[in-house]
Amino acid sequence: MWPKFFALITIACLSSSYGYAGKYNSILSIGDPMPTFERLPSVSGETLSSSDLTSEVVVLVSLANHCPWVRGMDPQLVSLANQFKDRDVTIVGFGVNHREDDRLSAMKKHAQEQGYNFPYVYDESQELGRKLGATRTPEYFVFNREGKLVYMGLITNSPAKVTFGGSIKHINGKPTEFYVSDAIEATLAGKPVAVAETRAHGCSVKYEN
């Protein structure tokens, strides 16, 4: 009986390792530490390392220039950075894809066109993206002062994309829940985040083998 029991436990353990860590993330769970990264090149010509991020709250967001969902939600991201520009909050966008239109030179152009008011770095090795389990763009990760993950997922409850006609269309009309903004405010106030995980919605990140 015991060998059978242990075999079942082993199978259960192996199975769970193939499941999800977070509700919608195969790598990270709420409370996990922020992954470290070294000298990622930014669109401004400087480099950024995780050790540079000493704010009360750090927000990392995966982006991709080509993605209609990123372009549709860029105005919300720029507004978010404006909203917290005088608070102890740092927002960092990062690109992961190797497509030509998602690489650093295209990122520079995109940041300028969209009025990005935050550092935008290129994770060419894809190491940061992998460590975060970031599989969609845009996907938000909010960390507190101790560098622990307090929120991951959508920016609001109504993702938006740019249509073929060039207009911005929200899936659920005007957003009514502002997950990232609420998570930042709660963390700054030393309170727990009410909604810690949502299902990010956007283009898939393509990881190279």
């Binding site: 497509r99 970031a134 249509t163 269309k169 299902r199 898939s204 083998n209």
Partner: protein
């Protein structure tokens, strides 16, 4: 008589112009995808019971889906004789007419000669109900309708490729 000849020539020219604008297949572009709802989805799959069913989930905004679609068309032809049925399920926003038009034209362009469906539901609701994080996703069902493979990009370290689709099919043949 001259007037009659001119009229005949004019008619011939008009017909020739019309012929150029009609799609080669003669089918209206918007008829490529059958509209289904989430509650229809199990019965759609049931239509193909007895065959290995490969369902390609895609949308016009998903560039990876678009890029790999021709490979799915190629696979569908290669395995058709062995009783493998391909279908596609488009997840474009049902209220985005431009996206649906584009998707229909795309299917015509790539000559994807297997059944196509469009999920006529709120996009976030579809993703929740089908338990999707992102697309492309390929679902492979066995002849009894059981989902045997769910090929996704949900784990950065285990994203699927065309070979994985083929391996999944071969393992069920």
């Amino acid at each position: 008589m001259l007037a009659g000849l001119c009229a005949m020539m004019l008619t011939a020219c008009q017909e020739s112009e019309n012929a150029d604008t009609i799609p080669a297949t003669g089918e209206p572009v918007m008829d490529r995808m059958a509209s289904v709802t989430l509650s229809d989805w199990p019965s759609v799959r049931n239509r193909y019971r007895g065959k290995i069913l490969v369902a390609d989930l895609w949308a016009s905004w998903c560039i990876s889906c678009i890029e790999r679609f021709p490979a799915m068309v190629e696979l569908s032809r290669r395995y058709r004789e062995q009783g493998v049925q391909f279908i596609s399920l488009n997840l474009d926003d049902p209220t985005d007419a431009e996206a649906l038009q584009w998707s229909n034209e795309f299917l015509q362009k790539v000559n994807a000669d297997f059944p196509h469906y469009h999920m006529h539901e709120n996009l976030m609701r579809s993703f929740e109900a089908l338990n999707l994080l992102g697309i492309p996703v390929v679902l492979v069902f066995d002849g009894e309708g059981k989902e045997r493979f769910r090929l996704t990009g949900d784990n950065p370290n285990r994203q699927f490729g065309d070979k994985d689709v083929e391996h999944a099919i071969q393992s069920l043949l």
